[in-house]
């Protein structure tokens, strides 16, 4: 049994809303609201959700690029929430991040060599010659050539830039990489190249990924387990096959059925949710999804559902599963996504 590399307990991130003449705090945006999960060593955990659900903020708080408001993060059994900035900086050698936009995340004034070499320098590789060698090596690992080192980011296509971003993340042999929408800015044919590369690298270097994306088919392809977020909360988390074949939470069911599949024979009945995602500054009481849920009950409006295991290794937060009575559970009108 592998041990968890990353453990998150009750993570919260509230952003203050300031208003009025004196800039008083008048409210809070609950971007991440009590999220807990574990990531095993060598595993790829996918996190999906719509825009504004807090998936990117979750990714950033894991590295403390955004300071969490509450909660605990354990990396290699060590709590990192209380670490000093200097200790955290040293620890980031083992935790890296790849960003969504390969255009914005690379400095246009630096050569590729400088971009990839910088994390090496920061973490103590002082010899310029050694850095040069390592950069060359890294470029080849991600499928570029050594002669690309002297070029600038604008000379590359989107897919190549994302490869540079990956090379930079790999520079210090990290254990964990947070991938924040790494392929959503790329075209389909390039996207598959990057996904394949990321899978190869995982096997080659025994990496662990937290893969954040909004595209359900991409997440399904690459992940081992998948968590679904809605309005700052994790609503369901399970092994990917279990999650995609038998989704438990009504939101997951609706989300999966809304994805248009490139197959003309697939005429499944879509669950079309009414309305929009409510504002995270003023989330609904009780279950955050109750305003759009087709199975809403009175209890959903009042009580926030507990995060619990509804079947083996399958977690969900929904009142439909509140009693452990199996027979009753089976009678629940759950729509299944046909396969």
């Amino acid at each position: 049994m592998t041990k968890p590399l990353l453990k998150v307990e009750g993570l919260k991130k509230y952003f203050p809303i300031k208003g009025g003449v004196f800039g008083k705090v008048v409210g809070q945006v609950k971007a991440v609201d009590d999220v807990s999960f574990e990531v095993m060593e060598g595993e790829i955990l996918g996190i999906v959700g719509e825009s504004g659900c807090g998936k990117s903020t979750t990714g950033k708080t894991l590295l403390r690029l955004v300071e969490p408001t509450e909660g605990n993060i354990f990396f290699n059994d060590e709590s990192i929430t209380e670490l000093s900035d200097e200790k955290m900086r040293l620890l980031r050698r083992d935790m890296q991040i790849i960003f969504q936009d390969p255009y914005a995340s690379l400095n246009p004034r630096h050569t590729v060599e400088k971009i990839i070499g910088e994390p090496l320098l920061v973490h103590g590789m002082k010899s310029a010659q050694a850095r040069k060698e390592r950069v060359k090596q890294l470029l080849e690992v991600v499928g570029l050539s050594a002669y690309h080192a002297s070029r600038y980011p604008h000379q590359f296509s989107g897919g190549q830039r994302q490869r540079i971003g990956i090379a930079r993340a790999l520079a210090n042999n990290p254990k964990l990489i947070i991938c924040d929408e790494p392929v959503s800015a790329l075209d389909v044919s390039v996207q598959s190249q990057i996904l394949n590369l990321m899978e190869e690298l995982r096997d080659q270097f025994n990496l662990t990924y937290v893969f954040i994306a909004h595209d359900l088919s991409v997440v399904k392809h690459i992940s081992d387990r998948v968590g679904v977020m809605y309005l700052g909360r994790m609503v369901e988390l399970a092994n990917k096959d279990a999650l995609y074949d038998t989704p438990k939470h009504p939101y997951t069911q609706a989300l999966l059925s809304a994805v248009p599949l490139p197959d003309p024979d697939d005429k499944q009945d879509r669950i079309i949710l009414q309305g929009d995602v409510p504002s995270p500054a003023n989330p609904p009481t009780g279950c955050a999804f109750h305003t759009r849920c087709p199975y809403v009950m009175d209890v959903c409006k009042a009580v926030r559902p507990e995060w619990k295991e509804v079947s083996e290794d399958h977690f969900a937060a929904c009142h439909l599963y509140n009693d452990n009575d199996q027979s009753e559970e089976q009678q629940k009108p759950l729509m299944q996504v046909e396969s």
Partner: protein
């Protein structure tokens, strides 16, 4: 067979930049019939958006220019139409919705203001009457509390709601053709499902033709009748949605479909097309896809394959389809006389 609303013939739209001439659209022909939803699919740089902007005569000039070709809309060639005439057609007979609904709405005016303006440009109507019509349109596209929303500003609405407002505006004159350029790309999947549902419903109820530009084959499968696949400024394949998705002929289309992660399949390695989309240049020799094509042979690098007609409204730009070629009847008689 129903009448053709739009018939683009051998369209060439080039951009003249400091770095030389760029043939962004290089000999594109496609057509849309009444009540039909035609999808144009391709990756960035394939020329699909430039094609749609050419139809609306919205290509910034300079640097862009329609070099040759014709765009027949209800029997009239839009390339030859004067700007004054074009203004009457835009919004009235052909409407367009764009990818980013935030940038397409003026943030300084209320939704109602902008809708009323659009309505009154094309119809003789009093302000009160136009406002009534605006509320009706908002209700038609499924906006709740239409009476209040009409007085709100764009920033008060969510992305999905803004796209609904754009669709309402596009619908205001009951156009014969709606051009939708990546209408759901900026939206979340659950909202995308709502918007696609709305577009299909409007297509059915008003018998309005839709030219849908997208990069998402899932969206194509969801609502399109026919599909045109574009690559590097050219049409590479055309057919019904089923033909394209189930029996693609051109290697690029094949690769594109295979490189999608499948929601239903279990762990397999993803197919990927090597390389990237080439930048269009004048005088390109050979098939534009040849450098990335796994079936490429000598001829592909030497000469450029024509678009072979391999069935009714079914074409493929690949030498491998040469033997499947068929005689196709001239389609002139089906064009609507304006």
């Amino acid at each position: 067979m129903s009448k053709r609303v739009l018939d683009i013939n051998e369209l060439h739209t080039h951009f003249f930049t400091d770095k030389g001439e760029i043939p962004a659209v290089d000999g594109v022909s496609l057509n849309v019939s009444e009540g039909e939803i035609v999808g144009v699919v391709g990756e960035s740089g394939s020329g699909k958006s430039v094609t749609s902007l050419s139809v609306m005569q919205l290509i910034p000039n300079p640097p862009g220019k329609i070099v040759s070709g014709e765009i027949m809309f209800k029997g009239r060639d839009l390339v030859q139409t004067s700007l004054k005439q074009m203004k009457k057609i835009r919004g009235n007979e052909i409407a367009m919705i764009f990818q980013e609904p935030m940038t397409s709405l003026n943030p300084l005016f209320t939704i109602g203001n902008q809708l009323i303006e659009a309505i009154r440009i094309h119809n003789k109507m009093g302000k009160g009457e136009a406002r009534q019509k605006a509320v009706e349109l908002l209700e038609q596209v499924g906006i709740p509390r239409a009476n209040d929303i009409v007085d709100e500003y764009p920033h008060q609405l969510s992305g999905g709601m803004r796209q609904r407002v754009m669709i309402a505006m596009a619908m205001s004159c009951r156009p014969d053709l709606l051009i939708a350029d990546e209408p759901t790309t900026a939206l979340d999947v659950t909202i995308q499902a709502q918007i696609l549902d709305l577009m299909r419903q409007l297509n059915r109820d008003l018998n309005m033709a839709i030219l849908l530009i997208t990069h998402d084959l899932g969206v194509i499968a969801e609502i399109c009748d026919r599909v045109v696949v574009m690559y590097a400024g050219q049409v590479v394949e055309e057919g019904t949605t089923r033909e394209i998705l189930k029996d693609p002929q051109q290697p690029y289309t094949k690769g594109l479909i295979r490189s999608l992660p499948d929601m239903k399949a279990k762990n397999q390695k993803l197919y990927s097309i090597p390389g990237t989309v080439p930048k269009p240049k004048v005088d390109m020799v050979g098939c534009r896809f040849a450098p990335r094509c796994e079936y490429a042979f000598d001829r592909c690098f030497a000469e450029s394959p024509p678009l072979y007609h391999i069935g009714d409204n079914r074409t493929s730009r690949c030498f491998l389809n040469e033997r499947d070629q068929r005689e196709v009847a001239s389609h002139d008689e089906t064009v609507i006389k304006g």
